[in-house]
Assembly symmetry: C2
Homo-oligomer: 285 residues x 2
């Protein structure tokens, strides 16, 4: 278990918003993560919600802009926000595009060169990071759930769908719901896994495909989608494909289209209270 | 009245967070301001709260980090957040220091060269900007109040204390309460007004001095101050001097020291609901 070093610490809503760094063995580099510790955690262990951010984000976007600490404080849950990719690896072209490489790990374990050694965000967020969090903080390790935004909404969905029972629930804001069929997704899957959509591996990292074959404990999925989100209009998100797959598979999924809202943290901040309450329903039952 | 151009527009908590730019005649440059319009403003005019930010900020810090839109939406008030100084003037040394010049207008009307033509943030926030806002948006122009943080807390206090009756109430987070006696304040007052604290002009821009001679309608002042604020410890803020002056002058001022909180927007976001409710008490009476 690696050591963690405190990068920052700020009191907020009676709890503490902290950022730590640590050496990640999955990613082969130093990583930051944000963690909000509500005051309840000073008394006894509490549940934890993981937040996965979108393209170009670091751990700070959610920490500074979502306003989630208020609700996590009211509900007594920890929030953990990892970074979105490994950093500073000096892999050729890792910084060339904003939607691939640095800031765009896609929560996948890569299988191609030169990515496969370090671009292992899936193993990082589902295994290494929770083990570290459970070891260092007062967490009820069997009470965890996951949510995210855009690329991170895709990440949250695949983490939950690939690991029946590991997360009590999952929710997403404007997730990339069917990456096999979206330009962002195809670029990422092609780069990290190789080939085209005929590569059978791709389906293992696609929420819509995974929903079709989900077989596990009940998973109550909440998705919010802004109707004025330009990436929805561009065909990057495709939540209707996920909804349809979930319906066919008998997975309860509520997809709410929100009139007038876009892809930004202004949208997230408006509905994050609903999501935290949705999670708490399952984390505290 | 200058035209305004929409820079951005995002739906949040049922209302709209917008940023506009316009040509300022007081400042002689193009300026941005943020404005949150709650859904109630679509029906009829509503009160307005001005927010003044601290050193190095632009209009975006408050817009993105304070979480104030939720409460303004619940209460049906407009929030206006101007920038903190004129921009891009090519005055020698305007960008040399982070605590003087660009990003550090101090809400003063300068009297020295080369600042006096453009560094007129006081006239901008008390006259030009409200006239523009009242002209372009559905505002109850006789229902306005003002709040701010650090340098902007100083700004909010002097705007209210110098203009009895213009603002229904005033509040501040960690204000520079007695700039004549603080290193930041002395640097700003010396630069924009000239001389040293023996320059009688300085007292016209110092909240503690202005509180001593306030003569106007009742003004109920709320101040929050983090106890772990390093700028408090450094003697930059001196809220106890303001409290003492207000007490002597019979001005009701509540100064709350908040255990564990620092100078950041994490502190502001925790208590902004209290401040908005404090303002609404006077804006809606």
């Amino acid at each position: 278990m690696s050591d963690i070093i405190e990068v920052s610490s700020n009191k907020i809503f009676g709890g503490w918003q902290k950022v730590y760094s640590h050496e990640s063995y999955e990613l082969g580099c130093r990583m930051n993560f944000g963690i909000f510790l509500p005051s309840q955690a000073e008394e006894s262990p509490v549940p934890v919600i993981y937040w996965l951010s979108g393209l170009t984000c670091t751990e700070t976007n959610f920490v500074q802009k979502a306003g989630a600490q208020k609700y996590a404080s009211e509900q007594g849950v920890v929030l953990v926000a990892p970074d979105t990719s490994p950093r500073n690896l000096n892999i050729p072209e890792e910084d060339k595009d904003w939607d691939f490489g640095t800031g765009a790990g896609f929560y996948i374990d890569a299988t191609t060169e030169p990515w496969k050694r370090n671009y292992r965000m899936y193993s990082y967020v589902t295994k290494e990071l929770p083990a570290l969090i459970n070891d260092k903080f007062p967490i009820l390790s069997d009470k965890q759930s996951i949510m995210g935004h855009s690329m991170g909404g895709h990440g949250a969905l695949i983490c939950a769908l690939k690991n029946p029972g590991l997360y009590k629930t999952v929710s997403a804001f404007a997730p990339i719901s069917n990456p096999i069929s979206s330009p962002w997704g195809r670029k990422a899957l092609s780069g990290y896994l190789g080939g085209t959509e005929t590569n059978a591996l791709w389906k293992d990292w696609d929420a819509t495909e995974l929903a079709k074959k989900y077989n596990g404990p009940p998973l109550d999925i909440l998705v919010d989608q802004g109707k004025e989100d330009r990436f929805l209009k561009d065909g990057q998100l495709l939540p209707e494909n996920l909804l349809s797959a979930a319906k066919d598979a008998g997975l309860p999924l509520v997809l709410r289209f929100q009139e007038g809202y876009d892809h930004s943290y202004f949208f997230i901040s408006t509905f994050i209270e609903d999501h935290i309450k949705h999670h708490v329903k399952y984390l505290k039952s």
